[in-house]
Amino acid sequence: MSAAIEKDLLVRPLTARITAGLPVDLASYEATGGYRALRRALKELSPADVQSRVKDSNLRGRGGAGFPTGVKWGLVPMGPDAGAKYLVCNADEMEPNTFKDRLLMEDAPHQLIEGMLVAGYAIQATAGYIFLRGEYVKAAARLNAALAEARAAGLLGPTDGKGILGSGWDFTLVVHTGAGRYICGEETALINSLEGRRANPRAKPPFPQIAGAWGRPTVVNNVESLCNIAPIVEYGAEWFRGLSQGKSKDGGTKLYGASGRVKRGGIYELPIGTTAREILEEHAGGMREGYTLKCWLPGGASTDFLMPEHLDLAMDFDTIAKAGSRMGTGLILALDQTHNMVAAVRNLEEFFARESCGWCTPCRDGLPWSVKMLKALEEGRGSAEDIVQLEKLTKLLGPGKTFCAHAPGAMEPLQSALKFFRSEFEAGVAKTPAAAAGADALAATGASSAKVA
């Protein structure tokens, strides 16, 4: 292995191989230290050792919620009587303006596979599934090719009882492509979908670690989280914690990104806790000529808008939460002065309304209502009552009110837009009652009076 990559891996464990332009095959992965962690774990470490390394590393789930991965694993029943257990990789990356897992899967599939093997070993899973967003055709092809290579090399089961690398522990891994529902990113909806059922979230408790896929203990981890596992086992928890270079109390690097009218949109692996300003201004090169930053979403459509004055905050889970938003996936969406906030929020809520699974009332019926009001405001036929009602919705669809976190997530951009840009909403209130009723628009579409309905 070249010393340059070795050094780079110690700083950017997730993307060093990718930026070096290596092919994604097994040979080049192994030539750069790939599957060393697996071999070490199987030979030298007990499952409990692996678990405690990950726990000590303070790796927090990279799917957006930031739940400590080691703690999640620790809830899985262990021991010889625990029976079938499953490890599921949540690769259903459908959060608007999020595209980090795609990079990892397309260009470093073996790192995910190794991460799943080590994680599977740690919880003594019997089988693993990569629940992949269906539109990620290239990722599916590359993952499947990599899985075939790994199977051929004896790194994956079934091994007819000998176990992976002769360890006695067997593990199979397959790619399952989703049918295109955002809610499948919710881990229990994902499990239902994996089982072939409707993608409705499940009630918790029981948590998946106790009763998940097919009623068996199941761990669901994000792609980026799992890609961190092999390096943690390889280089140790202390190394991982140090990767943040003191910028955050969390450990590791983070795949950050930027989109919108920035100069160099993309993905950047940086120490977790890097400021948003550094991400936007240095790595993304700042706003394009003629555009100024109006506000930004820190990590996906289901996070609250932040303002330019928040740019110096460290992008980690706790700091962004204190500012009233969530880091989420850490991929920043920059909005500029040309964006109308009502239109932007309407666009987001249309997405959320469409992607509601339809299980619980506030989400199913509340989100489409918000879209209709936002549309009215956007088209200048809103009413003052709409703004009151939108504000009510942010409470009624808030955390704890709905069955899962989908609607509360949908309310985050809405409530922050109302907080920071209320005047833009007020500007959409119709000047005359006729306009409010949308008489012209309705006459044009032939729809009957909506007011009476």
């Binding site: 309304a353 509601s356 299980w359 009110k401 309905a453």
Partner: protein, 895 residues
Amino acid sequence: MATIHVDGKQYEVNGAENLLEACLNLGLDIPYFCWHPALGSVGACRQCAVKAFRDENDKQGRIVMSCMTPASNGTFISIDDEEAKQFREAIVEFLMTNHPHDCPVCEEGGHCHLQDMTVMTGHHSRSYRFDKRTHLNQDLGPFIGHEMNRCISCYRCVRYYKDYAGGTDLGVYGAAANVYFGRPEDGTLESEFSGNLTEVCPTGVFTDKTHSERYNRKWDMQYAPSICESCAVGCNLSPGERYGEIRRVENRYHGELNGYFLCDRGRFGYGYTNRKDRPRQPLVAGEVVTRETAIAAATAALKGKKVLGIGSPRASLEANYALRGLVGAEAFHDGHALGDAALVQLALAIVRDGPVRASTISEIEGADAVLVLGEDPTATAPRFALAIRQAARGKGKALAAEKKLAEWQTIALADLLQRDSYPVFIASVDTTRLDDIARATHRAAPEDLARLGYAIAHAIDASAPAVSGLDAATAELAQTIATALASAKRPLVVSGTGAGSPAVLQAAANVAWALKAKNDATGLALSLPEANSFGTALLGGASLEAALTQIESGAVDTLVVLENDLYRRAPQARVEAALARLKHLIVIDHQATPTAARAQVVLPAATVFEGDGTLVNYEGRAQRFFQVFDPTYYDNKIGLTESWRWLADLEARSAWKILDDVTAACAQALPALAGIVAAAPGAAFRIDGLKVAREPHRYSGRTAMRANQSVHEPRQPQDPDTALSFSMEGYNGTGSLDRPPELTPYAWSPGWNSPSAWNKFQQEIGGSLRGGDPGKQLFAAGAGKPYFGEVPAAFAPRGDAYRVLALHLHFGGDELSSRAEPIVKRASPAFVAISRADAVKSGVNGHATLAIDGAQLRLPTYISDTLPAGTIGLPAGFAGVPFFVHGALATVSGG
């Protein structure tokens, strides 16, 4: 036990329930939609939100769903909290963004859980000003209407139909604000329990189509506590009447029997009462006559003559007893079909005298291993079948308990259960409608089913008789079933008279008794041919065979047939020959049967909806049914009365003035029936000095009811027989704890107009009714009995003489319900089933010609891959299928 605090008050609760159940049990109202006592909690509708506090010092609190939160010790909640109230109101407002405001034209109106909950939350005006989503509706067959625009997406329908009832053709499609509950395409719902959708649906998506055609609001109908006559389970019904017609039958909650659910035959089969061709006036020689003339003609035919009486297992005890009184105990015959009387007597001996008494439906639901021997319960005792499904699913509760999860956590239960279940073994002559939940199925002729049963019993207890000559596969199956039953905590044996085989009943008894010796929690449930099979068996009449033999000998002058059609009980040629030997035939019935057509005197009788009486179900539970309406009020030419009244008049028994007199006389005469008086309160019963009102207090139009005949309003009909009034005047509340559960005509409680009102009548939600579940158990605990020992020889095909097996179907075989038009539409046409090999051998192709007992008939063929070779199956009781005795042989030819 647990102490919870609700709005500052302290309550004791059992600690196992969720907060919604606990509060409803305490009489505290919380609105809800998706939760249902039988379907559990899923947290979908978010309607039952309350504020939960960490402790008494927490003033902030947070909104929780009461159905998803355990009522554990030290819980502090508020229902009245302002935020919680506003949230609940907002939920209804959300639902109303799409729910149409069509209450005035919606059949659910006035009977609608959504209306009740809307009022309960206080939501009255909405801010939503946009379009509503619309759906296309489907034709779901003759029973259920479909109006999807009204749907509030509570998911109850699919949770009931698929998860609870095992249906496969109703699903949920789409997502977001466009979820659709229906079939993949238009077509009749396949489940035999589809009608419960009309009660499970909290609004007007699924409505009773049989009611639609002659619609009335709930408050405009008259009701009585009734009992279903379509099988021997004895489900409790709440039939509603207007203008002299039964317009709808709904479930009447019974904690141990039907619970919240009925079968479709029981719910939609009431139409025989409304038939225009019924005898409603007395007939002598085919001419309408007055009551006096008819009685005179009948009396003349009886006086000084040699008289026989044939009773009926579909008639009340009182009617049968009155006939027994008229003709004398020796001349009284029980009216079961040839061969059935002995089977029923055997079943009675097993259930009443044996060591294992009959299980209630709720006990069946609690079983953890089930053997069904010789029966297709979906047809012969449908409510058994629905309960067996719950038994199989019950393993989810055990798995949940292992994970310390409450049993109301429905989603978790299903997730844990996956495709696992408690074992159900089905041994029957052909496929059954429960095969989808069976761990193993076995198809064989009745003798071989009995042999399997005997072998199972022997494997459980070696002192039970062994079976010799069993093939290896059957012996292994017997061992597997024996092991499963013996290792269960609550094993259950289900059998009955459906196979037409005493050996099957005996084998089933042996299995249950062998289990009982090891496990006191063993259950047994035997299905019977008719609603009052045990009642008539307890009266102890001789068999129909004996009656026919006497008549055939020419020793009988006059035959009195009570509510019975002999052509359904014996081969046609034999009935015709016997009737031809009589001088006089008197038929008392409510249907225009072929037997009635032969009678000189026809006395029109009341159906179960038009009279009162007592039935004894498969458990030995005596239950009273009450007259729903007085048909003579609408048309004074109508001359029908209860059969017992006709018989009392024929005998000039002046002592029998009211039903209670006959019931008491019957109880006194027959010690086995002594308990029937206590089956329900008598006519003198009053609550706060009042009779119980049959009509809701909003009943309208009463004074105009007969205005087309005369503007003078007649006096309301009086009811001397019962403690119920034909009026809205009378006791109408749920408030009195003294209200006997037997006297609840319909579900209503202030603020609760839908069937959800039953929650207000229960001791605890989903448990027994206040005052105990209706009916009086007549059987005391039985004693140990020696095993039955007559192991039959194996069935051997007899060349061209095919053994005729009775195939029981849910629709079309039951006498009364198959006279109802919607049931006729739903039933399949008659057919003959034949095994594939025999079909080839006998050359049948599409149709077959059969000869049975000298009768010839041609039927379409159904090629079965499961029917035993050497047998053919005929749908029992079907129109176009003549009566055949158990064990009959037939020849089969093609074309």
